[in-house]
């Protein structure tokens, strides 16, 4: 693995290892895959693809989950 890439994660720039997978990122963030939904460049990713989808420079990632609401 060489170097890092910069992605936008929930609106903020973040450096991650080049070729990191979505699973790898969630792991790094301490998030349980079953508890979050991942949108990459405005497309919702299927949970089954987390382990295979690798992040690239400039990817925009949104991580959302359920919170309290009416």
């Amino acid at each position: 693995m060489d170097g890092t890439v910069t992605i936008r994660l929930n609106g903020k720039a973040r450096e991650v290892a080049a070729d990191i997978t979505v699973s790898g990122l969630l792991d790094e963030l301490g998030l349980v895959p079953g508890m979050v939904v991942v949108e990459r460049n405005r497309e919702i990713l299927a949970r089954e693809s987390y382990a295979t989808v690798r992040l690239s420079e400039g990817d925009r990632l949104e991580l959302v989950h359920f919170v309290g609401g009416g």
Binding site: V36, L63, V64, H65, F66, G70
Partner: protein, 261 residues
């Protein structure tokens, strides 16, 4: 309460039966433990949740599923905070991707001050989401025509407000809510504006199928106790509706037989 006294048609929405006619929101509680206790005390089996960005700056995990068991309560995701049909559709898809169900409380807000619904955007979003297989419970104002259009669009329930979200003003327009109930075939759930138990009771006395509330419980001094009050109020209002109230008269009518001459 005897079984016979409580005999009623079941509360069915989109072919799913719910034990309680009360739907409860999960926002604004003083803490998560109080929220869970209040929701249990309310007797509800359906709770609303919102979809938001994970707060990555927090070390504490604040996702609601760490506190609420989705096997204990049916989760109804909302699109609260959305101001356009496109946003509502996007959040609906995100909610469904969480993998629990395809149900949705569709809410498209039209104005920041009153939080009143944008009914046209709501209708636009409803049509798209119904076509995508969502079971849409649509939050709207107490306008009959919009309610009929939402029903036509394929919503599984229409949810007119009692009064603005979080206002606690109670049921401002019982006449219009009754008109909606009389004309729509889908379940009518009054959503937003209930402030206290008598509001919930009065709302159910109009003959609507259910009530959805959040702030009335969450912002009470004792949310757990208010949740229990709401449970009773919804049952009482429903029973009173089924029982059929006595006519109102502007003259006194004695309850006891007259004395002999």
């Amino acid at each position: 309460m005897s079984k016979q006294a409580s005999a009623d048609t079941p509360f069915v929405v989109g072919s799913r039966e719910f034990a309680s006619r009360l739907i409860v929101g999960t926002g604004k509680y003083p803490d998560n433990e109080t929220m869970v206790r209040a929701i249990r005390a309310s007797g509800t089996d359906m709770v609303t949740v919102a979809v938001r960005r994970v707060d990555l700056d927090r070390t504490r995990e604040e996702g609601i599923l760490h506190h609420l068991d989705p096997r204990e309560f049916f989760l109804l995701a909302n699109t609260a905070g959305c101001y356009t049909a496109d946003d509502a559709i996007r959040y609906a898809r995100l909610a469904r991707a969480a993998g629990f169900n395809e149900w949705l409380k569709l809410e498209v807000i039209g104005d920041e001050t009153t939080l009143l619904p944008d009914t046209r955007a709501t209708l636009d979003a409803a049509r798209v989401l119904v076509a995508e297989g969502f079971k849409v419970m649509a939050y709207t104002n107490e306008d009959l025509i919009t309610a009929l259009r939402l029903e036509d669009a394929g919503c599984v329930a229409v949810m007119p407000l009692a009064s603005p979200i979080g206002s606690g003003l109670g049921l401002l327009n019982p006449y219009y809510v009754r008109a909606i109930k009389e004309r729509c075939d889908v379940p009518i759930v009054v959503d937003a504006g209930v402030g206290t138990a008598s509001d919930a009771c009065l709302t159910m006395e109009q003959g609507v199928d259910g009530v959805l509330m959040n702030t009335a419980i969450a912002a009470a001094r004792d949310p757990v106790r208010m949740a229990a009050a709401m449970r009773e109020a919804v049952v009482a209002g429903r029973l009173a509706y089924l029982a059929g109230r006595m006519p109102v008269r502007e003259v006194a009518v004695p309850s006891s037989p007259p004395l002999p001459e």
